[in-house]
Amino acid sequence: MSLGRYVGRRLAITVPVLVGVTALTFSFVHLLPGDAVDAIVGFRDVSAETEAAIRAEYHLDQPVWDQYLLWLRDAITLEFGESPVTGRDVSATIGRRLPATLALGGAAWLLALAIGIPAGIVTAVSAGKPADEVGRLAALAGIATPNFWLGLILLFVFSVRLGWFRVLPPDAPLVSLATVKFLVLPTITLGTAAAALVMRLLRSSMRRELDAPYVTAARARGLPERTVILKHVLRNAFLPVVTVAGLQLAFLVDGAVVVEGIFSWPGMGRLLVRSILRRDYPVIQAIVLVIGIAIVLANLLVDIIYAILDPRIRY
């Protein structure tokens, strides 16, 4: 199958998934117990006029199928209405918080790669030696540490006791020295488990590659071990790491939901938790939709990149 046809097929699979993601997100308000109006206003008593206005605004007076299509039309133009709890425009709220989450997630992702890749190489090369065993246990410890606990401990030690970092985010623009400094602890908290996963994945895929005949051939031809590892083995071993980038995104989003609350970071994760506790359903719906679509698109992108990198892959 040619690359073009593969991409076409992959796109064709994505369309029903996107429809499913939007349909599931749409039905969220309707799956909630009680009337959808109750859910939207957060189960408060409202006057009959307000109720009628809400019914009209959310098209609740029409068949479910039409409701979905109308909602979808609004969602495509990022029109999610106003939050009944705060009265603010939902899209604007999310738009304001998205950069903060992207900054934190991006920093954590870079940290995960910066630690995970070298550690993966070292443990794979020294398989069976003490370095490998230490790395294995460190990775397991990283995976097993609850991120909210790690965050609390870091906050306690470095912010409360030592006073190196601020407890609350500075009132400074996102790109400024104070903000970058504040982001150190949240980034470590969020990036630790991700780094451990990258490391383990790279280690096992490198172990497999190291057994391949081309490695023996390269060594037999007298290539320095460094060149064999970094130029030949690593390039091939990277492919499985690339495929999990979509899962990594989901993993980081999960982490952000928790970590942002601990460090009072004004991102989407904290907004989601707060909206759940306040029963602010339109905001929840919009956030879940943004996350779902982002992950579907990330997976699509990863599959296409994978197919370009590895011409053997044409499912």
Binding site: V17, L24, A144, P146, L277
Partner: protein, 379 residues
């Protein structure tokens, strides 16, 4: 089906070569075990390929499926037992389970009678009793882990909290397995539009991160009356989000298992599809799912603790390890470190132990599949 004992010479059909292969498999397993123990690198598959005329991988799988169902488990257990870190993990889990069970007496009470199932009480205080000590007291002899803001004994709460965490992990994973394995096996075995339908649902659910989906499901489940307390809300939310991983995984395995000769043979003999799936396909496709399920107990426990930490699901004030940390931020900022450290340490220990055991099972079941599970660990 009256003949429950699987044999290779059922009726008049005698499948030639299976018994030899089974013997070969046993020999090669034994030799590889000794070889591993001696630290040499003998490759048993080469020996068996030379000895028998048939493909050794197919033969050994069919042999272990038909001839000696218990044999594979026995070998796996032998390999597992030699794995020191996995055994340490298992020991930690057993100790924590025992501590949780014997933390407080368990009684079942109906209208009049109260039956005590478990009379022991390792925890000194009732985990919900307030002001058994001064609030926020640091660790002391009377309260080894200190007390929390309401003067509740942290040591008792950590011990009893193991009940929530361990049982949520086990029950949620078991429920998710029931759904995921069935749907995944059906999708993989039948293929076609059934496969398409099930896998598109899986794809849609896969688009949402585990915790985000669980968070969104909690308010939907919360008012359902039969779910009662927050406990079942959390369990069901985690099961609903968890089954997709197993479905996807076992489908992939089933796709290759269903092409095997013994499945074709069973179909030719007129065995109904559901029997083929239950007796022949699933048992041969389950190994990676077992590994993932074990590791997932850790993920589920972490997610359940995160839900508790965020104040979702369980009632606030429950002696669940994550929920105990919910007050952790404010107590930490006041300088009361002990409120946060001990419940978190308990979660960490349990999840670490689960991961050690999961790695051990992985190595024991599929020695040649080093680390295939890592991408699955993220779900």
């Amino acid at each position: 089906m009256s003949d429950r004992q699987p044999t290779t010479d059922r009726g008049r059909i005698r499948i030639v070569g299976f018994d030899d292969a089974a013997e070969q498999k046993r020999d090669s397993d034994a030799s590889s075990d000794t070889a591993d123990a001696a630290g040499t690198t003998a490759d048993p598959s080469i020996a068996s390929r030379g000895a028998t005329g048939i493909d050794p991988t197919t033969a050994s799988t069919s042999a272990s499926a038909f001839a000696q169902p218990g044999r594979r488990l026995e070998n796996a257990w032998r390999r597992f037992r030699r794995n020191r870190s996995a055994m340490a993990g298992l020991a930690v889990i057993i100790v924590m389970a025992v501590l949780a069970v014997f933390a407080r007496p368990i009684t079942v009470s109906t209208a009049e009678v109260t039956i005590t199932l478990q009379p022991f009480s390792l925890a000194p205080d009732d985990p919900t009793a307030m002001f058994v000590g001064p609030p926020n007291a640091p660790p002391s002899l009377a309260h080894p882990f200190g007390t929390d803001w309401a003067g509740r004994d942290q040591f008792s709460r950590v011990l009893v909290g193991g009940r929530y965490t361990l049982s949520i992990g086990l029950v949620a994973v078991a429920l998710a397995l029931c759904v995921g394995v069935q749907l995944g096996a059906i999708a993989g075995y039948f293929g076609g539009w059934i496969d398409e339908a099930i896998m598109r649902v899986v794809d849609v659910l896969y688009a949402f991160p585990f915790l985000v989906l669980a968070i969104a499901i909690v308010p939907i489940l919360e008012p359902v009356p039969i779910l009662g307390s927050g406990y079942w809300t959390v369990v069901v939310a985690l099961a609903v989000t968890g089954w997709v991983g197993y479905a996807r995984l076992i489908r992939g395995e089933v796709l290759s298992v269903r092409e095997r000769e013994y499945v074709t043979a069973a179909r030719a003999l007129g065995v109904p599809d559901r029997t083929i799936i239950r007796r022949h396909v699933v048992p041969n496709a389950i190994a990676p799912v077992v590994v993932q399920a074990t590791l997932n107990v850790g993920t589920v426990v972490l997610t359940a603790a995160a839900l508790g930490f965020l104040g979702l699901g369980l009632e606030p004030g429950s002696a669940e390890w994550g929920a105990m940390l919910a007050q952790g931020r404010s107590s930490l900022l006041r300088g009361d470190w002990h409120v946060t450290v001990f419940p978190g340490l308990a979660i960490f220990l349990f999840v670490l132990a689960i991961n050690l055991v999961g790695d051990g099972i992985n190595d024991a079941l599929e020695p040649d599949r080093d680390g295939r599970d890592d991408r699955r660990r993220m779900r």
